[in-house]
Amino acid sequence: MEVGQMQSRLADYTKSLFMEGILDAQFLQLQQLQDESNPDFVVEVVSLFFDDSEKLLNDIARALDQQCVDFKKIDAHVHQLKGSSSSVGAQRVKNACVAFRNFCEEQNAEESRRCLQQVKQEYYLVKNKLETLFTLEQQIVAAGGSVPMIELSF
């Protein structure tokens, strides 16, 4: 595949992520923070986000399985997840977290479980998408091209 083609594909793909609301402007800012002195910044942060989220989701799931659910603890976890997802610009995860926290406040275990599924679903979605994105970028780099900075044009 030609580098130029790959580049435009990457651009289209990124654009679709924004259009679908999976990512928001924060991700762009994240990309802007990446420069020569810090070449793998985005990947580094996002993988940190994956690890962190994975751990948090496990913790939340475990806490929800308990006989008596400690909503305070869950709320703290969800807050963490919300913070990190907003930091990387994973908008839909963040929104799901906001809904989740409302049910935590109400101490509604049933809805909380549903929300956990929702968050998980969104998380895996964004994980998939981002992994694809990174693969694309790596391909471009491997082919000797440069990853274009995406301008917000919508």
Binding site: A25, L30, S37, N38, G83
Partner: protein, 1028 residues
Amino acid sequence: MSLLNVVGFGLKVGHLLLMLCYWIVSVISMNWFINSGIMDSKTGLLSNSGKMWLRCWEKISGNSCKIQHNYSQYFGSKSVPKEWWRKLLITWVFGWTIVSLWILWYMSSQATEKRKESLASMCDERARMLQDQFNVSMNHIQAMSIMISIFHHGKNPSAIDQRTFARYTERTAFERPLTSGVAYAVRVLHSEREQFEKQQGWTIKRMDTLEQNPVHEDDYAPEALEPSPIQEEYAPVIFAQDTISHVVSLDMLSGKEDRENVLSARASGKGVLTAPFRLLKTNRLGVILTFAVYKTDLPSNATPNERIQATDGYLGGVFDIESLVEKLLQQLASKQTILVNVYDTTNHPISMYGSNVLDDGLQHVSALNFGDPFRKHEMRCRFKQKPPWPWLAITTSIGILVIALLVGYIFHATVNRIAKVEDDCQKMTELKKQAEAADVAKSQFLATVSHEIRTPMNGVLGMLDMLMDTDLDVTQQDYVRTAQDSGKALVSLINEVLDQAKIESGRLELEAVQFDLRAILDDVLSLFSGKTPGKGVELAVYISDRVPEMLIGDAGRFRQIITNLMGNSIKFTEKGHIFVTVHLVEEVIGSIEVETESLSKSTLSGFPVADRQRSWEGFRTFSQEGSTCPLSSPSSDLINLIVSVEDTGVGIPIEAQSRVFTPFMQVGPSISRTHGGTGIGLSISKCLVGLMKGEIGFVSIPKIGSTFTFTAVFTNGSPHPNDYKNLPINNQSKSTSSEFQGMRALVVDPRPVRAKVSRYHIQRLGIRVEVVPDLNQGFANISSGNTVIDMVLVEQEVWDQESVKKSDSRIPPKLFLLANPIGSSRISDATPGDYTPPVIMKPLRASMLSASLQRAMGVGNKGNPRNGELPGFSLRNLLLGRKILIVDDNLVNLRVAAGALKKYGAEVVCADSGKKAISLLKPPHRFDACFMDIQMPEIDGFEATRRIRDMEHSFNNLIQHGEVSVEAPQNISNLHVPILAMTADVIQATHEQSLKCGMDGYVSKPFEAQQLYREVSLFFQSASNGNI
């Protein structure tokens, strides 16, 4: 307040009534003192009680003082319980009831006393009269007895016989008004009886049978009487008055009453009375008075035996008491009012006169002395009528009681009123609390909502920022700037809602910063120029040359007022123009006559307008300055601006003009549907103008337009306050660009007002301007060649293709058209191939004008600095080489924040908990700043900051005492590392709490370049100045 008034009034009335009571009481007690003087018998007691009264009086007046004192205490402390009042009230009513009863009793007893007295005097009078008359009769009878002793017994033969006696007594009856008859009985011993009977020619008859069987007068027959039985002695009647001639020959000793009478009379030698008895014949009550007739004159101290021996006979007078008393009473006045009874009370009371009425009412007894020591008589009098009701006493006491009750009622009502007012007050306080709570909730809501709107708006503005970074041409830049300004205007609209809340709570304060008035008006104009296309409304701004370039005041608020007024104008204007003028107040006053020419020709667009003059007619400043100081001294640093916004819109209906400045009021409900808006703009403007020590007013004529005018006071911000009079044009142009310096322009415009506006804007670029009314004259001017004209600006409506062609050969270097947005379409419709000069779109403003001229004339280059560069570049400046600690428990967030700060060249250290941050920031350390997440497990941001501040505090203390040598490079005596909170929610409360904990500011998460710059610049500015 009105309640207090009512209470005060009640107190006054109460006091008045109290005084009235005192007066009445004093009158009564004085009356009593007078009476006490009259009643001798009770003087001692009364004077005592008088003193007591005096004491009482003192006490009461003392009490009244006390009551008033209590009132003041009551209002002062409110500590007196309600029960106390109730008790006082009951005591009051009870006490006055007793007082009034006492008065009733006292006054009625007075009346009774008086009545008794009058009865006594009447009774005594009657008794005395009766006694006198009786005595007169008695004396006469005694005289008669002496006559008999002389003429009957003293002479032999007797000079008196029955006939003589009867005649004499008949003729002297008037002397004895009380006697109905007199008779004389002679003493006859049994031995002399026969001789006596023979001599008289009748036998002595006994009387007792007659007494036992009383007969009627008609049947009376003396012959039928039994002769007297044999006795030791007899006392037969020999002489009798005609009225009682039937008693002749009766033996007086045989009658029981008569016998006692006769015996006691001769023993005592005085007149003796019988008990009352029924008289023979008449059957009326009567008494008989008996005198003894003695043979010889006896000495006054003769013994009864001697008297009995010496007795010759007995003279008796019959007193018909009943008729006599009646006769007597008839002679007296007021016989109707009293009843008189006369009793013989020797053994047991025997009624002698008067009906025997059983009445135990008031009666008076007077003793009667009829000269008989053995008999006692008395007169009893009583009133015929019952005593009348003591009306005076009753009315007085009832009056006093009523007054006391009224006063009591007033007290009661007052106390109740006070209680009610207190209750109401309590209720009000509760309601007030609720309202305040609601108000707090409202502002909370507003804050939340505005935050929600601001967040996406920040996104929009941020993107526009980024767009500005890209390579844009002049027009694009202008678009972007306008978009940005519009976005900012939207944010300011939200702020407006908050402002209204602030103004309502009086918390709005004005800033005092230096600003360029012309730039602000250009901004506003460009903001609105985007809203007018298609409407054909011409926007224009004119600022007088005498207004200084820089002013000190609240630029934002000033802009807000202008924006509000212009926004309104634009909403309601479909055609014509909107014209903003700024003058000095002195200027306007000075040229008042010049300005008044409001002919339709002289307006900006040719449409008629409302007379601007009239909009400031009511201004205070004008009337004051116009009279006292017509031109305020220019040396004063205060600049008094007058700003008018004139439009040719629909105008304000006359009936709605009065409530234009009321918040949330629009002309009608349909207006908000067609034009939108909250309706608070004008009310906010009015408040703001008031804060700027100015006034706002307007004049509006329906279907012609409105003109709003306001004044505002600013401080002169120009370096030479006195220079503004001949303000150098160079001064202004500095702000835009200087490449047009010294050029000359010709403006072709038939309307002087519009030409003035054009000239004002072109002059700002440093270009000298001439104005000519039409094209031909303009070309003539150019051709005359006196001056070099660099450019010609022609008003679109006078653009004439032909005339230009005619003078084609002498076309000046550059020709421009000044056109309205709506007019431009017409231009483009013009036949292609014709010569069309470049068009400069109105509204004119310095930046736009200079850009257009630049493009057309190729002068200079893109000199405008890119706005977006500023924060990023400056941030780098600020943060380069700084050592910054970032604290966040969220690793992802930590990484992102670190990355962002590293990008600006900062040296970043990360900490993932509050504990770590505290240990890292333990002084001395080398950190320049700290960004701290607030929500963290174990130790949150607030707590961590608090502990760090504590450590710094104790460390500073140590340094001050010289106990620790300072080897820190920033050799400062007061260590205070800037700590910024990182938070996702931007609620005011969080902000305030963070400041309370010793944080220096906050940045929202994720970082926004603008905000980061603003916060960081606050404390790195001074440091960088010192270090770099």
